[in-house]
């Protein structure tokens, strides 16, 4: 699979929190129109990277370009971002949440959102404060998937969620990939259930790129992504 256009380019990115650098000279390219996984242990810098792309965090050093531009609120109409450990507004119902998306998020398709809510078995009058973690996660994913935007950025979408919700989310992602030509970046620990979804993978260790490549090529040369992950990060 030829890597044509570059959607996101990072050059020697650095971000320090106190003494410990979260990103320590991270360089990478994320290909456009492909599904790329960002993999690595906790503290490797995955979330910091996602936040940088979404414009929440400014790098201390290095350069980051998303679609050729610097990240920030001006670029965010093109980005559907699911934050790490995100929650939703407890006082909302499902229909309030979808209204929030429709009013404030560019590219939000109301019909698609309600279709997804139906697939996810979320009743429009359901209160967010009464939802399980899995239901809340599904709702937040709708706010991202219902948007027709060039970049989908999911930070740990499967974290701490029950199996049924995970399966529904995977199914919704496959549907989305079938219908749209989006650049997708997903960071996750749940590699076993999701490695079939990825076109590319970036492995991050201690704030640097440990390995990057087309997943099919990596399989040919080294084995499954899970195996590669274990080899890279054990010990």
């Amino acid at each position: 699979m030829a890597m044509s256009v570059e959607a996101i380019v990072g050059e020697r990115l650095v971000k320090r929190y106190g003494k410990r650098p979260a990103l320590n000279g991270l360089s990478f390219t994320i290909p456009a129109h492909r599904v790329t996984a960002v993999l690595g242990p906790n503290g490797a810098g995955k979330s910091t990277l996602m936040r940088m792309i979404a414009g929440m965090v400014v790098p201390d050093d290095g350069e980051l370009k998303v679609f050729g531009q610097s990240p920030g609120w001006k670029l965010n109409p093109s980005i559907a971002y699911l934050p790490d450990r995100a929650r939703w507004y407890g006082s909302h119902t499902v229909s309030d949440a979808l209204e929030w998306g429709e009013r404030l998020l560019p590219g939000f398709d109301r019909d698609r959102a309600y279709d997804l809510a139906r697939d996810f078995k979320l009743d429009s009058q359901m209160q967010v404060s009464g939802m399980s973690k899995g239901q809340e996660a599904r709702l937040m994913l709708i706010l991202c998937l219902a948007r027709d935007v060039p970049l989908l950025l999911l930070d740990e979408p499967f974290s701490g969620i029950d199996m049924i919700s995970r399966e529904k989310i995977v199914a919704a992602l496959i549907d989305s990939f079938s219908e749209r030509k989006q650049t997708v970046l997903i960071s996750t620990h749940e590699i076993a259930e999701t490695e079939g979804l990825f076109d590319y993978a970036v492995f991050i260790r201690e704030g640097r790129t440990a390995l990057f490549g087309s997943v099919e090529e990596l399989r040919e040369r080294q084995g499954s992504i899970q195996d590669i992950y274990r080899k890279l990060f054990e010990g």
């Binding site: 699979m1 492909r34 599904v35 990939f177 079938s178 079939g196 979804l197 099919e216 399989r219 499954s224």
Partner: protein
């Protein structure tokens, strides 16, 4: 969201059943090749009938839990091989050309024999030993 081809009870991750065709993906090998080979074999064996409708790219991707892109690549290759044909608005179908299927079956058989002979030679068997072995073990349908 359309319903995928119904996985039968006890299906595992990355497993797919379609009529008498059944395959499980090995994640430690490239997936595109596996999907392609599985379909080629099944078509050659007749596990999928001539002219039968193939699952859509999305349906297969859902069943296998893989990226639709991978499925699409395999389907495109099958189409190039003339093993399948896409009819606009209706979907993708197995070819009705029995000769084409026979050709593929022959190709696969030739490959299997070639592999077999290479293996025998690497074990050091002569041609006569191989033939004798074949007659011993060949028989009518009982192998092994």
């Amino acid at each position: 969201m359309t319903q995928p081809f119904q996985p039968e009870g006890g299906s595992r991750l990355n497993e797919f059943r379609f009529g008498s065709m059944r395959f499980v993906l090995d994640l430690s090998q490239p997936l595109y090749e596996q999907v392609l080979e599985q379909f080629r074999n099944s078509i050659a064996k007749g596990e999928i009938a001539l002219g039968e409708k193939m699952p859509s790219v999305r349906e297969l991707a859902q069943a296998l839990k893989i990226n639709p892109n991978t499925v699409l690549r395999a389907y495109q290759e099958l189409e190039r091989d003339a093993l399948t044909e896409t009819r606009r608005g209706q979907g993708t179908f197995i070819t009705t050309d029995a000769e084409r299927v026979a050709e593929v079956r022959r190709k696969l058989a030739v490959q299997a024999v070639t592999d077999f002979l290479n293996k025998m030679r690497s074990l050091g068997l002569t041609k006569d030993e191989i033939l004798r072995l074949l007659q011993e073990k060949g028989g009518d349908g009982d192998v092994g």
